[in-house]
Amino acid sequence: MTRYVLRRILWGILLLILVSALTFVLFRILPTAEPARLRAGQNASPRVIAELRVDLGLNKPLITQFWLYMKGLFLHGELGYSYHSGASVRSLIFNRLPATLSLTIGAMVIWMAIGLPIGILSALRRRSRADRASMGVALLFISAPEYWLGLIALYLFAADIGQIRVFPGAGSYVGLTEDPWKWFTSLILPWLVLAAGFAAVYARVMRGSLIETMSEDYIRTARAKGLPERRVVLRHGVRAAITPIMTIFALDVGVLLGGAVLVETVFDIPGIGRLNYDAITHADFPIIQGTVLLAALFIIVANILVDIAYAYLDPRVRYS
């Protein structure tokens, strides 16, 4: 078991190195725009740009730049400095992390709490009216773009501009430590909007997975043994059916922690996603690079955790 874990972690580290190299290619080699020029701003003189070029080490051969970049990244956690504001990318990201965490974890709780029970109930009452209705609604939420749902939610319910003024509008987020109640109310709409699509997907996946599981022989055996139906469903059915949910859950959380760009933009939440969006409008490559790397890190870690969990549950996996 430990050998499998070690193997996975080593592969994860290698992956991270490869992805870092890839981002270097994407943001240094691909674009025609020069970092020195971008950093210097609109009306900089050629002398300033030349000085910046030396400062940023851009006059060195590409290989040397790449080596310095990787060394800085892995040894010092150095993510560079913003072209736009000069602030350290790392500090910017850490400042924005709490907002993204608040949004992600809250949405996670909601979508699991709504999606899974609906999926389970739908699977148990196949083809009933409730099943068709809930799956229909689920499909609607999957098909709608989340930023559009967010705008509609704001249009209907926002305190400043909505038709029915219930929830605080966009841009009203405050940190948890500043004002817990305001933090909570300002996140309700974003949570619901973000969770809607995921709840729909999870309901559908849970339903399909449980339907397949419930047709297995051992469920029939459990019933024949005289176990109460509830126990059969929960203890035997759901337990086995939950594995695909686990996989996608880890992946979804990994991706979301990199910043739910769309929802954060619509609701003006100062998270990592929003940081990314602002960086794009300013062609602020170091920030974009930093957030892509951070998101990749979360995804890789999530993948490793899922693989380890699978290896724990299914011994055959360890020897592959």
């Binding site: 709608a144 930023y147 705008l151 509609i152 997907v201 991706v255 769309l262 974009i288 892509v292």
Partner: protein, 332 residues
């Protein structure tokens, strides 16, 4: 959109139409011709009314996309980039739905209905073409990796892992932003439709590749492959003639699930400003432009969104129908 991994049906379970899947023997003896798998599939698909309606809707969308100028002319609407600054009310905000402009008008005076119609082009091109390229790439890679195995498989699988570790939307944003300032690759590539299609293909081929590889791994061990090999068939011939036809069903199912996600992805990228640039009409970009004024000019935000919703919904329903028709054992 991060709903990618979730919606792919049971890769391990779920049957497909295998080579021995129709009761030919006894039927032929009675003088009854067996139905081909295609006919069986179509018969099952036809039973799903909702999927049929959605398919018709998609056909309509394709017609509208191709004949967009004609449709706009028939409905007596101005072109999508015809700006008209007279179409504002006394406060300077654009006019709402009226007879001349059924969906209203945006800040630049462009007719929303006309732009929604032209927007079909972008969404469909990106969704269909991007998915097609991704499917082609993924099938080739999956076929090679699964069939030959060994170090080819290892290298390709690791490569897939790397691509999957990269966050999709962020990568799209990054590429879009990187190529926006002065172009990429010495200015030869500029952000726009081409980059988006490339990005979508880049991001989606791994899903298809993994699934194809899994299927090929199990198909490879079956007797008909061994029989072909014993007759002296080359690797390429076995792959094309024996294995590929059996992959048709899962490939169709999975790629049909990818199309709606790619349409949403293009809209999301356009919403964030790195997709299709104005004046080309794209639904996502229209929603983005509507954001500053949507509390008063609701029509500019609502109609493109509804168009997106209906299009993606239609593709999802057809995808579900295809899945039910091609995998009858896992029917809901």
């Amino acid at each position: 959109m991060t709903l990618g991994a979730a919606e792919l049906p049971y890769a391990a379970g779920g049957g497909s139409l295998g080579p021995m899947d129709f009761p030919a023997a006894s039927a032929a003896q009675n003088g009854i011709a067996a139905r081909s798998p295609l006919a069986l599939f179509w018969r099952r698909f036809r039973q799903d009314r909702v999927a049929l309606v959605s398919l018709a809707f998609i056909a309509l969308l394709i017609v509208v996309a191709i004949a967009a100028p004609l449709v706009v002319k028939l409905l007596d609407l101005p072109g999508p980039d015809v700006q008209n600054s007279n179409l504002t009310n006394q406060f300077g905000s654009p006019l709402g739905p009226s007879l001349a402009h059924p969906f209203g008008v945006d800040q630049l005076g462009q007719d929303v209905a006309s732009r929604v119609i032209y927007g079909t082009r972008v969404s469909l091109i990106v969704g269909l073409l991007g998915t097609a390229i991704a499917t082609l790439l993924g099938t080739i890679v999956g076929l090679l990796a699964g069939f030959y195995g060994g170090w080819i498989d290892t290298v390709l699988s690791r490569f897939i892992d790397v691509v999957l570790a990269i966050p999709v939307l962020l990568l799209g944003l990054g590429l879009g932003a990187a190529c926006e300032v002065r172009g990429c690759l010495d200015g030869h590539v500029h952000s726009g439709l081409g980059v988006i299609i490339f990005l979508i293909a880049l991001v989606n081929w791994t899903y298809i590749a993994r699934i194809v590889r899994g299927r090929v791994l199990s198909l490879r061990e079956q007797e008909f492959v061994e029989a072909a090999r014993s007759q002296g068939a080359s690797g390429a011939r076995i792959m094309l003639r024996e294995i590929l036809p059996n992959l048709a069903a899962p490939i169709v199912v999975y790629s049909s699930l990818l199309i709606p996600q790619n349409i949403l992805l293009e809209a999301a990228l356009s919403f964030l400003g790195v997709g299709v640039r104005p004046p080309t009409a794209s639904w996502g970009q229209m929603i983005a432009a509507a954001t500053p004024i949507f509390n008063t000019a609701w029509w500019y935000m609502v109609f493109p969104g509804v168009a997106l919703l209906l299009t993606v919904l239609a593709f999802n329903l057809v995808g579900d129908g295809l899945q039910d028709a091609l995998n009858p054992r896992t029917a809901r």
